[in-house]
């Protein structure tokens, strides 16, 4: 099973450490002048794909990102981590506002077919829309098996044994290749791109495409009516002792009395 060709979906999102601010007109969140980086779960997927290549399980790792021109920075990061080449599917900023996981899944599945991929790898969810859909939908569109929320991946006799994070514990499944994998938090710890690798990544090939090149219609399927701040929780009081605390909780009927 050597020589797997791996496609990795890399979404550009607002950096996880940035405090989110809602636009005053409630149409979305403020993205201008805000630090962006690769979706952390996608970074884990890139790392795992690169490790598969280092273990000679994979022959080529191709990073793909759909979105505005700045996604090219995200792809350079993926290539600095070890991806061999990348494909930027450009979607203008206005269309991107309504680009949904289903659109991205359609593009990724076409890319997978065109590149004769054996594995499509994505993060389990993006930390901006928190949808948790893309990988599963790529699997559906290609009729491939899916191993989502992966925390461990091993190969055995032409199939993959995957440990998945589920509610209340772990689960093990086997999937045939070709397959779609989605990365959970504990699959690995992504490496930092070193300066020499960042320089090298600048010379790696990046193809530039449009959704129409793959025959994918990116017309909106839903509309965002508004985006608002969550209700603010008021800080309560600081108490002076454990006794006061237990009395208050008991009065509220929250501890047995």
């Amino acid at each position: 099973m050597s020589g797997l060709r791996v496609i990795v979906g890399c979404k550009r999102v607002i950096d996880y450490a940035v405090k989110i601010r809602v636009k005053p007109d409630k149409t979305g969140v403020i993205t201008d002048g805000v630090k962006h980086s690769m979706n952390p779960f996608d970074e884990i997927a890139v790392e795992e794909a690169v490790r598969m290549k280092e273990k000679k399980l994979a022959s080529e790792v191709i990073a793909v990102s759909c979105g505005p021109i700045q996604c090219q920075e995200t792809l350079r990061t993926a290539m600095a981590m070890g991806a061999d080449k990348s494909i930027h599917v450009e979607v203008d900023a206005a269309t991107y506002e309504n680009l949904q996981p289903l659109h991205v899944a359609k593009i990724l599945s076409k890319v997978a077919q065109e590149e004769k991929a054996d594995i499509v790898f994505t993060g389990k969810q993006a930390i901006d829309d928190d949808c948790n859909q893309t990988g599963q939908m790529v699997a559906a569109l290609l009729d491939w098996p899916q191993a989502t929320f992966a925390s461990k991946i091993e190969k055995a006799n032409g199939e993959l044994t995957v440990t998945r994070e589920i509610d209340g514990g772990l689960e093990t499944i086997k999937v045939q290749v070709p397959a779609v994998l989605t990365a959970d938090l504990r699959l690995n710890e992504p490496r930092y791109a070193t300066l020499p690798n960042i320089m090298k990544a600048k010379k790696k090939p990046m193809a530039k495409k449009k959704p129409a090149d793959y025959g994918v219609d990116v017309g909106p399927r839903q509309s965002i009516l508004k985006v608002e701040d969550p209700p603010v929780r008021q800080a309560g009081s600081k108490l002076d002792s454990v006794e006061t605390l237990v009395t208050k909780l008991r009065d509220a009927g929250l501890v047995p009395s």
């Binding site: 939908m137 086997k174 938090l185 839903q222 509309s223 009516l225 985006v227 969550p230 600081k238 002792s241």
Partner: protein
């Protein structure tokens, strides 16, 4: 208008979050049917038939559904949908629901709606984005709405109905694409984290896994589940299924006691809908105090044992 709820269960018992999901489904305004799909799961179908608000139970019982693999479940759901033409298909935003529903949606060529916290009308839904740091209201234009529901955002449906059960249309078939090997669930006598009425959670301040015993002792007095912050999980104190937060469990109990947790944004996203929040931390500047109803600036190694003792004294 008609809605299908996909029940979540372990073939023996209905998972409580299904009751919350049924409540969300009844807000959509159509008749609600509930599909119980599994292996030897007739007992679950009986349990579901007694839930208020359900008009029909559909049963799909086959060994092929072992492990609820999306490769076998999805074709069956498609066959059922083809026959019965539901306008809404709803499941809990659990590990199973999140795995299967997008696959089903893509097969139906519709854009799914994940993890909703509110229903405004049959096509307008409220959900959180950026780990709960913003709230989005969206209108879906899809002919079939495929939805997952955040259980903690809806009250559980009551028991007290009697719906008829029939076999679901569709034929179960094995798939050679994937196979189920096994599960390793953490065993505990305590209530389940996601549905517990009270939760005691520990953070890096606990300093070690052994020290979590302090929390277990308190939890047992309160009939509470025990959770942890990501920092405590990453430090290896406790297993990751105890993690409360953006990338772990979202909880909303009546009482949440945060012990030695500073209150990172990703932790707050997982617990800030709790009814009453108590924070015990020796750092008076810890952000957790900004959301706590009752704060106690104290050494947890003294405060927690004395709290356990006081709670025990009736």
């Amino acid at each position: 208008k008609s809605t299908l709820v996909i029940a979540e269960h372990n073939n023996e018992k209905l998972t409580p979050v299904t009751l919350n999901t049924i409540t969300a489904a009844t807000k959509l305004g159509g008749e609600v049917s509930c599909l119980v799909l599994g292996s030897q799961c007739a007992k679950v179908a009986e349990e579901v038939s007694k839930v208020k608000g359900i008009s029909k139970v559909l049963l799909a019982d086959s060994e092929a559904f072992k492990g609820f693999l999306p490769e076998t479940v999805t074709p069956f759901l498609l066959a059922t949908q083809k026959q019965l033409n539901f306008t809404h298909i709803v499941a809990s935003a659990s590990a199973v629901g999140k795995n299967v529903m997008p696959r089903l949606a893509a097969k139906l060529d519709v854009s799914p709606i994940s993890d909703i916290i509110g229903v405004q009308d049959d096509s307008t839904f409220v959900r959180t984005i950026y780990a709960g740091n913003a709230i989005q209201t969206l209108k879906s234009d899809e002919p079939v709405k495929v939805i997952t529901v955040r259980g903690t955002a809806f009250e559980p449906a009551e028991v007290g109905g009697s719906a008829p059960t029939e076999n679901a249309p569709g034929e179960a078939a094995n798939s050679d694409l994937s196979s189920f090997v096994g599960q390793e669930l953490s065993k505990s006598d305590r209530p389940e984290l996601a549905s517990a009425k009270a939760v005691v959670a520990g953070g890096r301040g606990l300093k070690s896994g052994e020290n979590f015993k302090l929390l277990y002792d308190l939890a047992d007095k309160l009939d509470a589940a025990v959770g942890a912050s990501r920092a405590a999980v990453d430090a290896g104190f406790v297993p990751n299924d105890m993690q409360v937060g953006q990338t772990g469990k979202i909880v909303a109990p009546e009482l949440y006691i945060a012990v030695g947790i500073s209150g990172a944004i990703q932790h707050l996203a997982g617990m800030k809908d709790s009814k009453v929040i108590v924070a015990i931390n020796k750092d008076p500047e810890a952000p957790i105090f900004q959301v706590a109803d009752y704060g106690l600036v104290d050494d947890l190694f003294k405060a927690v044992p004395s709290m356990t003792e006081l709670v025990g004294k009736k």
